[in-house]
Amino acid sequence: MRSALAVVLTSCALALVGCEKKGSAPPSSGGASGGTAAAPASGGTPGVTGDTILLGEVGSLTGSEATFGISTRNAIDLAIREVNAAGGVKGKKIDIRVYDNQSKPEEAAQAANRLINQDNVLLILGEVASSNSMAMAEKAQPAKVPMISNASTNPKVTEIGDYIFRVCFIDPFQGFVMAKFAHDNLKVNKVAVLRDLGSAYSQGLADVFERKYTEMGGKIVARETYTKGSTDFRSQLTAIKRGSPDAIYIPGYYNDIGLIARQARELGITATLMGGDGWDSEKLFELGGSAVEGSYFSNHYSPDDPSPRVQKFIAAYKAAYGSVPDSLAALGYDAAMVAVDAIKRAPSFDRAAIRDAIAQTKNYHGVTGSITLDEKRNATKSAVVLQVGKGKTKYVDTIAP
């Protein structure tokens, strides 16, 4: 009796394996036209079935950087809805498949894998965190699938290959922005740096800041590290306090910044806090409370920007989702629109043609500014410096490259 059960279960498991083999051929919704094989199409166009164009998106919808992923997804959905309402692209409607990577790079790579090999998308949008984008790019580049990151600022992302693009500025510029702000606007001479060991973004940005700031004549009085996800930073902050800095540069993600700010004030540190675009999230206010008010960070756009394009986007986003869009949303919107624009300009739906069209993006007027992709496939744009207020940010300054 029992051995029969064992045999039955074994055969069920093996059957499941057998089923999976067939299941891994492209699913019926939005797959390659022509051919049943899951092999990258040599005949047939990837990403296009009938009158639907399938795009892919990977975002951190859960986990420590959840607001990034949710903002991005909302904005991309908004963009696609607008495009489809206006008649689509070349007579076809756009569809998008979204996968969650739980804020983890290895999950991002797996999601990219699925989008490329199982769902056969035309191109991939994402991600925000540079570590995640790099993992995805490592899969997208060899498979020759164009990828547009909306907000990854670490230069290494686009260095992975010529199919990887981004619509935002890169950290060599962003680090310079805050260094200049600290030196020229805040006029501080002693700065401590607290970096996140767990993210490529934080490491890269901190390195650039330190270099540029010392070039300008400033002094780095303390260097400490933390790992994202920790809750107790008092040890490192106490060590920083010993150096008596006038300001502390913390290029990390909003989750940790809130706690760091609180604990810094608790320890009696009065230094001004500064950071980068990883701070941009509505959660920052909740987690940081009054401790984070008065701090400054560099960003891609400001909701205070009076230009009509920006205000129209903010109004549409607010109507759809009930909140003011952050820079990740604005960049996500731009990334989606750039992709659509490229598909419109490309002579065919072939991925290589789309790639070339993206590379030729020039003076595209996006919500976050004018986007021109240079030969390294990065966008050259200005940065804004925002100050953290009570529940919202305040525009302070623009710094051009």
Partner: protein, 306 residues
């Protein structure tokens, strides 16, 4: 010098929380010889219960004395009930089975609780961290020098609550009939049963007590570190368990000493070297202690007689 003092304060603050959670581990191990892996996650549940109550009370009421007391009470009672349920339905049926079975069950419950709370299905909180509301309005209590060392009122209150709970537990275990019954059961539960002690009830009450303590620790942790999220119990629980083992598992004062030691060692290692070694400190400390004194600092190794 001042940062040494500050490190000391930080370490003690972290250590008392480890100590409170370690007490629960050590008590349960004493009576059941079981590592209750789920203990840290019970703490997490308590913290979220407190959070829910605070939300209901609203900004005004949550920072009054009665509001804060209510938050603690609800969390501790809620966790006591949770502890009772876990013991009754997951551990009791396995009382006579090999200990490995119960250990696996404990791991199962731990994962169910922590990852279950991460789901986005209301009323489950979801994975994103939330800020625990300020139930004690922060005010500086003592400032040394030019803000060289700052001690806040809530730090003092937290420490007092922690010490108060530990003293209550000490009184309970060593001066009451229930405490004596508990010690008897942990010494030899078969003989205790023969002596007329209701072993099942004692074990259930021990569980409830340990869980209530964990809930208290959870609220104190939330006051200290503000951010709460469903996975917070996993690592705190693990480290508290390490603290309990270091002190000698089954030994109540040992758990307290172990907790404080661990908090201090972690703080100083991170403060004077790099933060990236933090997670390794607890386990490294554990391995060193186990190699030198296999029974823990205050424990004793009992030889297994055949």
């Amino acid at each position: 010098m001042s940062d040494f003092a500050q490190h000391l304060i930080n370490g003690v603050a972290a250590g008392t929380i480890y100590a409170l959670v370690a007490l629960g581990y050590t008590m349960v191990y004493g009576v059941l010889k079981l590592i209750n892996f789920a203990h840290g996650d019970v703490m997490m549940v308590g913290t979220f219960m407190g959070y829910a109550v605070a939300q209901k009370l609203g900004d005004e009421h949550q920072s009054t004395l009665w509001g804060a007391l209510l938050i603690f009470l609800v969390a501790m009672v809620g966790c006591a009930v949770l502890g009772f349920l876990i013991e009754r339905f997951a551990y009791r049926p396995l009382r006579d089975k090999p200990r490995l079975t119960a250990l696996i069950t404990a791991i199962g419950i731990s994962f169910t609780l922590s990852y279950g709370f991460q789901l986005d299905i209301p009323p489950l909180p979801g994975a994103a961290p939330r800020a625990f509301p300020e139930i004690i309005i922060p005010k500086e209590w003592l400032i040394v020098g030019d803000r060289a060392v700052v001690i806040w009122n809530w730090q003092v209150i937290s420490l007092s609550i922690a010490i108060g709970l530990m003293l209550m537990l000490q009184g309970l275990v060593y001066r009451t009939r229930f405490g004596r019954a508990m010690r008897a059961v942990s010494f030899d539960h078969r003989t205790a049963a023969l002596m007329g002690i209701p072993v099942d009830r004692i074990i259930a009450l021990t569980f409830m007590l340990g869980s209530a303590l964990a809930a208290g620790a959870g609220i104190l942790y939330a006051i200290k570190d503000t951010a709460i999220q469903p996975l917070m119990g996993l690592y705190v629980g693990l480290k508290a368990f390490v603290a309990a083992v270091i002190g000698g598992i089954g030994n109540v004062p040992g758990a307290v000493v172990g907790g404080l030691l661990l908090g201090l060692v972690e703080e100083f290692v991170v403060g004077y070297s790099s933060s990236s070694w933090r997670d390794a400190v607890a386990f490294g400390f554990l391995i060193v202690v186990l190699l030198v004194r296999p029974g823990g600092l205050f424990g004793s190794v009992t030889a297994e007689k055949v």
